[in-house]
């Protein structure tokens, strides 16, 4: 696979939360505002990138039987680092993300990419994959958060532009998360199905 493809497959075609359905817990919980989504996306991308690098460097050294606990230790180290950095430099973000920063360690995306990619490929490819998946995850988080924040709180990144009377409160509460994610996923699948159908039609017509 070409290098550019490795990087960009995480954005749309293999978007970790909308297509691969990984990392659902943070997707539902932190998307109440775009700022939180960006913060969570950045933290997860950092952990994904660094753990991919280290695991790819150590892939020939870690014995196969104990690889999952080793990966968990490596990932947990970076998550603790990120947790302390965010607590120190952006305490407001730490307050609003709460328990979901330590939960990056059990985010299926991080362990999944380590298992599926980093322990089979070189360091540079793993960097691209980590970046791609992380950015894709951030894109999906921001998309969902944008819908929820605009409809539910009438603001975008903290700047209110719809008066409070017109806010549909359910979108920033628990059910709204499920509904928005469900509809956005359905929309994406619908678009992908349409594109696939068109491509099949073209191929048949060309024949």
């Amino acid at each position: 696979m070409s290098k550019i493809k490795i990087l960009t497959k995480g954005f749309f075609k293999e978007n970790p939360s909308l297509i691969l359905v990984l990392g659902m817990c943070p997707t539902l919980a932190v998307t109440t505002s775009v700022n939180n989504a960006l913060g969570m996306g950045a933290a997860t991308t950092f952990v994904l990138l660094m753990s991919n690098i280290i695991i790819s460097l150590l892939k020939n050294v870690i014995p196969d039987k104990v690889r999952i606990p080793c990966y968990i230790v490596i990932i947990a180290t970076f998550v603790s680092m990120v947790d302390l950095i965010i607590q120190g430099f952006v305490p407001a973000l730490s307050e609003s993300l709460g328990v979901f920063i330590p939960l990056i360690v059990v985010n299926c995306i991080v362990l999944g990419r380590a298992e599926a990619f980093a322990n089979k490929n070189g360091v540079f490819d793993s960097i691209l994959d980590g970046l791609g998946m992380g950015i894709g995850f951030t894109i999906s988080l921001v998309l969902i958060a944008a819908v929820r924040e605009v409809l539910g709180a009438g603001s975008f990144m903290g700047h209110q532009f719809i008066p409070a009377d017109y806010n549909i409160l359910i979108f920033v509460l628990a059910p709204g998360a499920f509904l928005v994610l469900g509809f956005i996923m359905a929309l994406m699948r619908h678009i992908i199905n349409r594109v696939e159908a068109k491509r099949k039609n073209k191929m048949c017509a060309a024949k």
């Binding site: 919980a29 947790d83 985010n107 709204g176 499920f178 469900g182 619908h190």
Partner: protein
């Protein structure tokens, strides 16, 4: 906060019942706190498997919280190394579940056949680690000195809430199988929308406790 002033040394039965209602209905782990969504979406297609998953979660959560709350109270806090909480907790949970799986395979093959499949799914999962970390935020537990027994009981209640939610959801999904759904919605999207409506129903409990 009059409830927590002049507190007795031990939590009374009434407070436990309030804790139960709070954990199962008001702060349901899946529908309100968003922990454990992956097994919720993955294992809830039939009521029987959902029930099996729920029981496995109760078991794992009780065991994990027992050990991690003891570690937190007697090792991490006195030695002032709480920044190691994430690493220590996840390693303990992973090791514990691995041990439990091996023991279960040896001691009770029938129980292993019923529950064993779900154990790896629960280990690397938001639910167990999330509750292990969050149990210290429960005001009732904090007010009574973070007792290990109380934390374990609270986590069992939370896991009961998980079981309730997942079994109800499995029932709904079994019905969904019989209906015609648009192509883009099949599978996860319609499940999420159903979960959203279920979450809306649970919102009715929100100020009960």
């Amino acid at each position: 906060m009059r409830l927590y002033e002049n507190k007795p040394e031990k939590i009374e039965i009434m407070e436990y019942i309030l804790m139960l209602i709070g954990a199962v209905l008001v702060n349901n782990i899946i529908l309100v706190q968003f922990l454990g969504i992956c097994p919720f979406l993955g294992v809830s297609s039939k009521v029987n498997t959902a029930l099996g998953m729920g029981v496995a979660v109760i078991f794992v959560m009780a065991l994990a919280t027992l050990v991690t709350s003891a570690l937190q109270k007697y090792v991490l806090v006195p030695l002032d190394i709480t920044f190691l909480q994430t690493i220590v907790f996840i390693l303990v949970i992973a090791a514990l579940v691995q041990m439990v799986e091996i023991m279960l395979k040896k001691l009770s093959p029938s129980l292993y056949r019923a529950l064993g499949v779900y154990l790896p799914l629960i280990t690397t999962n938001c639910a167990v680690l999330g509750i292990a970390i969050k149990v210290t935020e429960q005001p009732l537990i904090a007010a009574h000195g973070f007792s290990v027994i109380d934390s374990t009981i609270y986590s069992v209640f939370i896991a009961i809430g998980f079981t309730v939610a997942i079994v109800i959801f499995a029932g709904l999904r079994e019905q969904l199988e019989l209906v015609e759904i648009p192509k883009g919605m099949k599978g996860v999207p319609i499940a999420l929308i159903t979960a959203g409506i279920l979450a809306m129903a649970f919102m009715g409990f929100s100020n009960l406790v």
